[in-house]
């Protein structure tokens, strides 16, 4: 039982979607099964940053949606701190939050404070606890001065920072970060990366990070899973992953140590049977 405590454990997760495709006006719809995620196993321990890497369509977002109990896996098991997360999805939802990149997931006509008050209430946080938390979060994400400005007047970076505050409003034990620095300038992205590191190291939260930016994964992640076309093609620390490529490179020549981006592309091409 202990092996399941203080972590989210997903074993052999599969997600298939049934698609209905129109064939014509009077013809019956054609059914097609899409295998979005194929038999993956993931662990997200508290106090660590776990990376989920892959190119577009790799199955990262579907995996996050399963892990955060928004959608149900077709098969496989999912536990949080040893509790069946599929059967007890409301219990899970109290203890997690998702922060996505982009400008959605906020009410643009509301101010930052009003947004956070609303989302806090959805998680049962209220009164002085909520007020205090909002004040603290706005300070962390640097939006104290814009606290009473409607979100529609925010820049993209400000909205993203407010998203992070929203994702922390219920003080979650596990946080899923889906491309959190997407489209942000380097200064804000750096601030957000520092915050993510602090969440894991200082506040002992389990963090799952998906990102397109390899350097971000390299900087932040303690352990990395690589997805391609819904399947897990590699996993390990960044050193483990580099070794996969590094060993073969060294056989051919001793040119240079591979970086993680090179490693990722090698792994994807290798899994697809293509030449790196």
């Amino acid at each position: 039982m202990n092996e399941y405590l203080d972590k989210i454990v997903a074993k052999n997760l599969v997600k298939n979607y049934e698609l209905k495709e129109k064939q014509g006006f009077f013809r019956p719809k054609k059914r097609r099964t899409v295998h979005a995620v194929k038999d993956i196993s993931v662990e997200i321990p508290k106090g660590k940053i776990t990376g989920l890497l892959g190119i577009n369509g790799a199955g990262k977002t579907t995996t996050i949606r399963m892990l955060s109990s928004i959608i149900v896996p077709t098969s496989g098991t999912l536990t949080m701190d040893g509790v069946d997360a599929v059967a007890n999805h409301l219990w899970v939802k109290e203890r997690i939050n998702v922060i996505s990149g982009g400008e959605r997931n906020l009410y643009w006509r509301l101010t930052a404070v009003e947004n956070l008050q609303y989302f806090g209430s959805l998680y049962g946080v209220s009164g002085s606890v909520l007020d205090e938390r909002i004040r603290g979060l706005l300070e962390i994400v640097g939006l104290t001065e814009a606290a009473d400005t409607p979100v529609e007047r925010y820049s993209k970076g400000m909205k993203q920072r407010l998203q992070i505050a929203r994702g922390l409003i219920n003080d979650p034990e596990y946080i899923f970060l889906d491309e959190p620095t997407l489209g942000l300038d380097i200064v804000i992205a750096k601030e957000i990366r520092a915050l993510v590191m602090e969440l894991a190291a200082k506040h002992h939260k389990g963090v799952l990070l998906t990102t397109h930016y390899i350097s971000e994964a390299e900087e932040l992640c303690d352990y990395i899973y690589v997805l391609d076309k819904g399947a897990m093609i590699a996993e390990g620390t960044k050193e483990d992953l580099k070794d996969l490529l590094g060993y073969e490179r060294k056989v051919v020549s001793q040119i240079k140590e591979p970086d993680l981006e090179e490693t990722l592309m090698y792994l994807i091409n290798h899994s697809r049977g293509e030449h790196a």
Binding site: Y17, R65, I70, S100, N105, Y107, R109, L110, F119
Partner: protein, 269 residues
């Protein structure tokens, strides 16, 4: 749940005030007033006050203008409640906030009650405006503001709210508001006895009309307002309204709770 109701009420209220959608209110009031004005002119200038004898039989001798005004006012209340509650989730989807709402453990019923609470004041404003205009056109509204009047309105809102819960799931499933709501509202205004007694319709249409809470609600409303009857004297209408409310609430809440994640898959999958 109370916290979720309050938070949703506040969130929607602030959003509505800042967006100032007066056009929505004006549009529904104009529709309701039109439903009075056209029959008024036809009745006075085309029919010269003459009605088929069946009308008196079907309505218990009600005067036509009062009959029309009460129907139009309750129809406005029904459309307003159904539209605001029914569109709640799909509006969240369009604004990009549905995923975070469903990610939270918040009571879904509390969320809908918050939406209902916020919209009821506006819906009653529209309802009251249509009644007031109807009064100018000569409707007999002496029973307004009696306890029975208030109770009927509360029962009607309950019925419309419960139907709105189901409608919300349907709209989300179909990812459509326009066709769904307009088809429904057209069917309701045609079959529920808004502008004429449903006895004029074929028997199968009359039977079909019984699935809408508006049918018993408008009949009960007229009996209270025109004939001064109490709700207790109309147990069959009360029972029908409550049974329909329960059925729609079960479909809306239980079905949605069970199917929520499947529904979400279809949206985000």
């Amino acid at each position: 749940m109370v916290r979720v109701i309050g938070a949703t009420y506040k969130k929607n209220r602030i959003g509505i005030i800042r967006a100032m959608p007066w056009s929505f209110i004006v549009s529904r009031v104009v529709t309701g007033v039109t439903q009075i004005v056209f029959p008024f002119f036809i009745y006075h200038y085309f029919l010269a006050g003459n009605l088929n004898a069946d009308f008196g039989v079907y309505t218990g001798g009600a005067d036509y203008i009062t009959y029309i005004v009460l129907g139009a006012a309750l129809n406005v209340l029904a459309v307003s409640t159904l539209m605001n509650v029914g569109r709640a989730l799909i509006t969240e989807l369009r604004e990009g906030t549905l995923e975070v709402l469903l990610l939270s453990p918040a009571s879904r019923t509390g969320y809908f009650l918050g939406c209902l609470g916020e919209q009821t004041m506006r819906a009653l404003l529209e309802f009251g405006t249509v009644l007031a205009v109807g009064g100018i056109f000569g409707a007999d509204l002496r029973q307004t503001f009696t306890l029975q009047f208030v109770l009927v309105i509360l029962l009607a809102i309950l019925g419309f709210f419960c139907m709105g819960l189901s409608l919300s799931a349907v709209m989300l499933e179909a990812r459509d508001t326009y066709i769904t709501q307009n088809t429904l509202f057209f069917l309701m205004s045609l079959t529920c006895g808004i502008a004429f007694p449903i006895q004029y319709l074929p028997q199968w249409v009359q039977s079909f009309a019984q699935i809408f809470p508006l049918t018993p609600a408008v009949e009960l409303f007229r009996r209270v307002m025109i004939h001064g009857q109490g709700i207790g004297e109309n147990v069959e209408l009360l029972a029908q309204l409550l049974i329909l409310s329960v059925i729609y609430a079960v479909i809306g809440i239980v079905w949605f709770r069970r199917k929520e994640r499947i529904l979400i898959e279809r949206i985000f999958g």
